[in-house]
Amino acid sequence: MKRNEAENKISDGSLKKEMRVRPIKHGTVIDHITAGQALNVLKILGISGTTTAVVSVAMNVPSGVLEKKDIVKIEDRELKETEVDRISLIAPDATINIIRDFEVIDKHRVELPLQLEGVMKCDNPNCISNTVEPVISKFTVNKKPVELRCIYCDHVISEGIAEHLI
């Protein structure tokens, strides 16, 4: 791959878009994020106003497939698997582009795992996983529509998933 594909996608067409987000040398571009979820993606990655990392966020960018999408670029960082799992919950169509020396060296779509461990909090307040017991929350995942079923209490979470992320 010759050149950062995600960069090209963002910059193709107009000069205005080119100015919106500059190419990065090393890092990760998370593209095709469900519109409106970029700030939740930042939250998952632990990026707040006090970060020292170079981060670019684009929201509601016109996109062929999704009509509009969000994009997050983070310099000098590659994502952990648990972070990708979390992102897949709120942005199931997102793509992860790993950039080294301005080139995309890996590009893949996020994929919802069949089971999620320690990623979400069960929203049933009476669930045993919400107590002092030494247990980690665990959910089985239904992909379409996204539904998470607690393996302990059988409670199903289908809405407001971002609010339940640990």
Partner: protein, 303 residues
């Protein structure tokens, strides 16, 4: 692998049939015939919530099979009161007993206990979650007093909070029963459960009127509207006593109808109904003994 008994969802139809068949074999012992099948075995009962029928029928089942029972006793007098976690209690008791019966107020507690236990866990109710031994004794009652094939059953009362009816409805869907759900609007079965049942291929009809369906069913399963589940007492008053099975109501009932109730009852079944040919709720509570015998024997791998 340990055979825990946590939820009806862990059982296949074949497994349920085997348990029901074994329960029938155990019935003479439940009625007093001597047995030493579980001689030398110890069952621990851990009840973090009050229980009469479930606890006593488990104890009866174990003792009639020649086994011994140890009991945690009132929670406030045990190490639980000192703040011990359930996970630790289970690991400790598992070193004393061959199986543990657990009732706990938190949903999912039995599933978690199974992860920490080196002996089988038998779930005797986890909050508003599962109560599989009740469901199995309900199925057994239907098998003995009516029939599980081509069954037409109506579930009446609190279908929103009642864990018994959720587990039972799930199990009945495995037998392709024709189910009628009778409840006031505010106590209808939760959508997520109905969705699960439909996924299993269940046939479900919902209504608020009990009288209309009596002529077309084989089993009327009545439940108590539980006052303790209502956040607002005024809401309870609106639905309390809404369904009442009386001798007069049963005038239209077919001869082969049976009436079941997990007990305790309040006023939802008039005591005069007890003397009719339809009443089966006391037989139902007896059947808890042979069914729990079958489960204990299975969990302790002696049959």
């Amino acid at each position: 692998m340990l055979r825990h008994i946590i939820s009806m969802k862990d059982f296949s139809n074949d497994e349920i049939d085997i348990i029901l068949k074994r329960a029938k074999d155990f019935e003479p012992i439940a009625r007093g015939k001597k047995s030493s099948l579980l001689s030398g075995k110890i069952l621990a009962t851990l009840f973090y919530e009050p229980s009469t029928r479930t606890r006593l029928s488990f104890e009866t089942a174990m003792k009639r099979l020649g086994g011994e029972v140890i009991d945690l006793g009132p929670v406030e007098k045990s190490s639980v009161a000192k703040g011990e976690t359930l996970a630790d209690t289970i690991r400790v008791i598992g070193n004393y007993a061959d199986a543990i019966v657990l009732r706990h107020p938190r949903e999912g507690s039995a599933r978690m206990a199974a992860q920490f236990s080196n002996v089988p866990i038998l779930n005797a109710g986890d909050g508003a979650g599962h109560h599989p031994t009740q469901t199995l004794l309900d199925l057994y009652t239907i098998m003995r007093e009516s029939s599980l094939s081509n069954l037409r059953i109506a579930l009446v009362g609190d279908l929103k909070y009642g864990r018994t009816v959720h587990s039972l409805a799930y199990a009945l869907s495995m037998y392709h029963a024709d189910m009628t759900l009778i409840s006031p609007k505010q106590l209808q079965m939760p959508d997520v459960i109905k969705k699960d049942l439909k996924k299993q291929g269940a046939s479900i009809t919902e209504t608020t009127n009990m009288e209309d369906v009596l002529g077309d069913i084989d089993v009327l399963y009545v439940t108590r509207i539980q006052k303790e589940r209502f956040p607002d007492p005024a809401e309870y008053q609106k639905v309390a006593g809404i369904y009442r099975v009386t001798v007069e109501l049963l005038e239209k009932a077919p001869d082969n109808l049976i009436i079941m109730h997990p007990l305790p009852r309040l006023d939802e079944i008039d005591p005069a109904v007890d003397r009719t040919k339809y009443a089966r709720y006391f037989e139902q509570s007896f059947y808890g003994v042979p069914v729990r015998m079958a489960l204990l024997a299975m969990a302790m791998e002696v049959v």
